[in-house]
């Protein structure tokens, strides 16, 4: 198909879709409406379970099964990237050349790294109280490690990041989430039921029953998964080289 024909097709299909979407938008309840039956129920339930952050309650208690799926998607995608970005038979590794960085940038990276790491852990730990949680904090913590690459060089990053350990931790924390779910079945309630632990005092770190545990499992899983993911991409971008003389023709 020529680009011109494709453009016509896009205009036709996109036009139809646009008409459909706009017509639907005009029929939607007005923005800012007061009617949210599920949301209101979720808020009541969250307070009944002493979880101050309702979103965490929905994520890790009321709809914890969705989060299990979400975590597995991340886990599967990271596994997929590990498989897809493996070293192919016709490739070899070249040690990366060291990178020259001006001192202020290097200093900044080394100062901010621990700050970001602590912030990440803080965001994870307070997930069931204030905005944040395992996912957000995990990403921050994992990103912070890569300041080592950005501010120093790749070799420095590799020293603080034994990828295998992260891979194993990633899988173990994913299993931990699933095992916490299974514990519900084994104790005779339901899968992922939040009945194992007392709900604690409202607005404290240990409130919400299993919510903090699931939250922590997600935090560790996400942090490790992102580290592994970035490690694969860095490997490709920095280390893995194709064999000389075997460059594909096109």
């Amino acid at each position: 198909m020529t680009p011109r024909v494709r453009l016509w097709l896009v205009c036709l299909g996109g036009g139809g879709l646009a008409a459909l979407l706009v017509a639907a938008c005009l029929r939607l309840p007005a923005f800012g409406g007061l009617w949210h039956p599920y949301g209101d129920r979720a808020v009541r339930t969250s307070l009944a379970r002493h979880t101050a952050n309702t979103v965490a309650s929905v994520n890790f208690d009321q709809r914890a099964f969705d989060t299990m799926g979400e975590m597995t998607i991340l886990f599967g995608a990271v596994l997929g990237c590990v498989v897809l970005l493996r070293q192919a038979r016709d490739e070899h590794r070249d040690p990366p050349e060291p990178c020259e960085v001006v001192p202020p940038v290097r200093r900044y990276a080394l100062i901010v790294l621990p700050v970001a790491l602590v912030t990440g852990l803080y965001v994870i730990a307070h997930g069931q109280l204030s905005p944040g949680g395992g996912f957000q904090g995990g990403v921050v913590a994992a990103t912070s490690l890569h300041l080592m690459y950005l501010g120093a060089d790749y070799a420095a990053l590799e020293r603080i990041r034994p990828v295998e350990a992260y891979e194993v931790t990633d899988a173990l924390s994913a299993s931990a989430y699933l095992l916490l779910g299974l514990a519900g079945v084994l104790t005779g309630t339901a899968f992922l039921a939040n009945t194992l632990l007392p709900y604690g005092t409202f607005n404290t770190l240990s409130s919400g029953g299993t919510v903090p545990l699931l939250n922590a499992a997600i935090g560790v899983e996400v942090a490790c998964a992102v580290v592994v993911l970035l490690a694969r991409f860095l490997d490709q971008a920095v280390e893995i080289e194709e064999a000389k003389g075997e460059m594909s023709a096109p």
Binding site: P3, R6, L9, V10, G14, L17, A18, L21, V22, C25, L28, P29, A30, F31, G32, G33, L34, H36, Y38, G39, A42, V43, S46, L47, A52, N53, T54, V55, S57, V58, N59, R63, D66, T67, G69, E70, I73, L74, A77, V78, G80, C81, L84, L85, A88, H126, L129, S130, P131, F135, F202, N203, V222, L229, R232, F233, Q236, E242, S248, P250
Partner: protein, 119 residues
């Protein structure tokens, strides 16, 4: 003002979605196409959150306000959007991984030049 605002967020979401689709269909670079897909997905975040907004509401997080003291917005859509963002990031990563491999095996990331799977 207000009657426009009643549909504006939905229309912005629809616009973002369509723009992303257009970019995806006409892209000349697979990395760009993946970026467009991410744009498409941000439209779904906007739509979900716009659906859950409540006038005068605040975040359903009670660490710094007393429960019941202020109206709150819908927490369910926020949880859905969170899940959605994770999904989006991972899909982006996977697509980029495939793109990197395509660049290696085909020597190009221009879909117009990738013509092996015809007919």
């Amino acid at each position: 003002m207000s009657s426009v605002l009643h549909v504006l967020p939905y229309l912005v979401a629809a616009w973002g979605f369509l723009a992303g689709c257009y970019g995806l269909a006409t892209s000349r670079n697979l990395i760009h196409a993946v970026g467009c897909l991410a744009g498409c997905q941000s439209a779904t975040y906007i739509l979900l959150l716009a659906v859950g907004y409540r006038d005068g509401g605040t975040a359903p997080v009670f660490s710094d306000i007393r429960p019941g003291s202020r109206p709150v917005v819908d927490p369910v859509v926020q949880a859905l959007t969170l899940t959605d963002i994770v999904v989006g990031a991972t899909v982006t990563a996977l697509l980029l991984a495939l793109t990197v491999q395509i660049a290696k095996r085909h020597g190009t990331v221009d879909p117009d030049e990738l013509r092996e799977l015809r007919g």
